[in-house]
């Protein structure tokens, strides 16, 4: 089906890149995971899924019991689309493969924000794609509720390679919450997630992604965002649960004047977790702005927190803030903020701080009557609560819930 619209040249490039190393740490053998999954039937009513699965999915912010709370829902288990439906006119929610068949023009977007031959993971997603979602808001449509999408792995040892395309047409507004999870925490697996976002003129997309993986999972998201004139893209990424290895570096290009991008990440690395996570914004048009904020906590795992701002034209502004908190003797945080100004008139700044909680701060709170443990809890909670300007209250609450749930384990 999708063979019709897919570019042959892209396929060839992906073929060549199928073993292309993925720096910085190429530690995943693609052949160690099975590419064949058991089929799961489509569910008109996804609330009929087993309670345990629903609970895991809910932990990543996706509710299946009350779909009316969402403007649309997409649920994929392993390689099967279980449910996909838009609840509001002007919105489209479906499998990206189905969309590719339905809309021949979609091939003009396919692999435009992310390169198919960027590394072996993008190549693998091109060569062996297992759906993923297509979400689109038509011109002028404002999503009333968030659209939710869940990518779930139930089968042990499986590779799930999804390709998502999100298009917010001119002057439309889209709020998306994506949850990724595994059925059980013992599950081993590989998730490759390609996400391409196209934010058209005057459109706004808020994208909240909660990762709820498992200690033996390998995860390689590859995201690209293209923002046109006056477009807004706000990304909130939360990963508080253990995962064996997770590496991503979503890149937003502000190609239109006055485009705005904000990336917020909240990360917690438990022992055995290695995260290499960054956000990059390339300011290519006058008046475009970017803000990258990351909060990283290690309780024994290793985090590399990257950030990269590139100012390509004058009259652009970007700020990068990266803060890391070390709550364990083991584990490390390596913050790598990068600023790249290529012309006069760019205004780029960063602040980065990594360390343990200052004793002075703990004692300050203790002087107000809090025990040491309570003082640490208040400071950690404050550290994790990133203020997200422009985030709808429902998404903000969802994020807060995810943070609160992990706090109990953290402390």
């Amino acid at each position: 089906m999708s063979e019709i619209t897919r570019s042959k040249a892209t396929g060839e490039r992906a073929q060549k890149a199928r073993r292309k190393p993925a720096p910085p740490a190429d530690d995943i053998d693609l052949d160690a995971y099975t590419r064949v999954a058991e089929e799961h039937p489509y569910q008109e009513d996804p609330s009929r899924l087993p309670p345990q699965a629903k609970e895991r999915i809910l932990e990543s912010g996706v509710t299946l019991d009350n779909l009316a709370q969402r403007s649309g829902t997409f649920l994929q288990i392993d390689h099967s689309v279980i449910h996909s439906k838009a609840q509001q006119g002007g919105l489209e929610v479906m499998s990206s493969l189905e969309a590719l068949e339905k809309y021949p023009w979609l091939s003009d977007y396919w692999w435009q924000a992310v390169s198919a031959d960027a590394d072996k993971f993008t190549a693998e997603a091109e060569r062996n794609q297992h759906h993923g979602y297509f979400i689109r808001s038509l011109p002028g449509t404002k999503a009333i509720q968030p659209v939710q999408a869940c990518l779930y792995i139930a089968q042990h040892g499986l590779a799930q390679n999804v390709h998502n395309v999100i298009i917010a047409e001119e002057d439309s507004e889209l709020h998306i919450i994506t949850g990724c999870a595994t059925a059980k925490i013992e599950r081993e697996g590989l998730h490759i997630g390609i996400s391409e976002f196209y934010v058209k003129k005057g459109a706004k997309v808020t994208f909240t992604m909660i990762h709820n993986w498992a200690p033996k999972m390998a995860v390689r998201p590859r995201s690209g965002i293209i923002i046109e004139e006056g477009g807004v893209f706000l990304s909130n990424y939360v990963c508080l649960k253990p995962v064996r290895t997770l590496q991503m570096y979503p890149t937003a290009r502000c190609v239109g004047e006055n485009a705005l991008v904000r990336f917020n990440s909240v990360l917690v690395a438990a022992p055995g977790t290695t995260m290499d996570i960054g956000s990059r914004a390339i300011l290519e048009a006058k008046g475009s702005r970017a803000e990258i904020v990351s909060r990283a906590i290690t309780t024994g795992g290793n985090i590399t927190a990257r950030g990269h701002l590139v100012g390509q034209v004058a009259d652009v502004k970007g700020h990068l803030e990266c803060r890391g908190l070390i709550l364990s003797e083991k584990g490390a945080i390596h913050a790598i903020p990068e600023l790249e100004g290529l012309v006069e008139g760019v205004d780029l700044s960063h602040e980065a701080a990594v360390g343990k909680i200052a004793e002075e701060e703990i004692e300050y709170l203790m002087a107000r009557g809090l025990s040491r443990d309570d003082a640490v809890a208040v400071i950690v909670r404050g550290f994790l609560s990133v203020d997200i300007e422009g985030l709808p209250p429902e998404l903000s609450a969802q994020m807060q819930r995810a943070i609160e749930m992990s706090e109990r384990e953290l402390l």
Binding site: L365, R368, S371, R372, G382
Partner: protein, 243 residues
């Protein structure tokens, strides 16, 4: 309420306070004058119980109980509060959260707003604690926390430093509230105010005063008389006066 007996305090192995004794009765306010580096803050921090300030001799009694070796949070819960001269910035933690923590079991959203209004701090409730605060805002924030905490005994470290004329009157008003200065009798709150300049005493009445010089108490007496003498002769005058 507070008895300090022959107290000697070391900071990182260096003796800062030597054999200091004084007491503060229930309802009483003591002003402690002294030049920079005389050991005033060290004395306050040791009374509050910060581990960096080590009591090597003597003891501290609070309501008759020896608290010399109690941790800071226990002293706080017993009813001792402190206004820091330079409190740390606590990134991420909002003032609202901090006031809530100070209120403890008395926590109530409406109370927080009400207290913040009194402290002219409503607009700061959603700011991170002490982050980017002006001198006046720091003092008002400290006092708001103390009022929420409602201690029996307050240690006030230079409440007048870095505060402009508009703010100092509000700061004075808040301290008077904490120390129940509106009551002529049956006050239950007491305080120890450190002041280098004495400005705060234009707004808050102290019952007694002493002068701390080179880690020891040199002079005790009426606050206004001592302050007048310091204004005329400087702290050098205090040293000469005792000889």
């Amino acid at each position: 309420m507070l008895e300090v007996e022959d107290l000697t305090i070391e900071v990182e192995g260096r003796e800062i306070i030597h054999d200091v004794s004084f007491n503060i009765d229930i309802g009483e306010t003591l002003a402690l004058f002294g030049p920079n580096a005389s050991g005033k803050t060290t004395l306050l921090m040791a009374i509050m119980g910060f581990p960096r300030y080590e009591v090597t001799r003597g003891r501290i009694l609070f309501n008759g109980e020896d608290i010399t070796h109690l941790p800071v949070d226990e002293r706080s819960r017993m009813g001792i509060g402190i206004l820091f001269q330079r409190p740390p910035v606590v990134r991420g933690v909002k003032m609202r959260e901090m006031v809530r923590a100070c209120l403890g079991s008395r926590e109530d959203g409406a109370v927080i707003e009400q207290l913040a209004q009194q402290a002219n701090m409503v607009e700061l409730l959603d700011r991170e604690v002490n982050y980017g605060f002006s001198g006046g805002e720091i003092k008002r924030s400290e006092l708001l926390q103390l009022i929420a905490q409602s201690p029996e005994f307050v240690l006030l470290d230079e409440p007048d430093s870095g505060v402009d004329l508009v703010n100092i009157s509000l700061v004075g008003e808040m301290i008077n509230g904490l120390l129940q200065k509106d009551r002529m009798r049956n006050r239950t709150s007491s305080g120890l105010i450190i002041t280098h300049t004495g400005h705060i005493l234009d707004y808050v009445n102290a019952d007694r005063a002493c002068v701390l010089l080179n880690g020891g108490i040199w002079c005790r007496g009426n606050p206004q008389e001592i302050l007048a003498s310091i204004k005329s002769h400087g702290y050098e005058g205090c040293a000469v006066c005792q000889k």
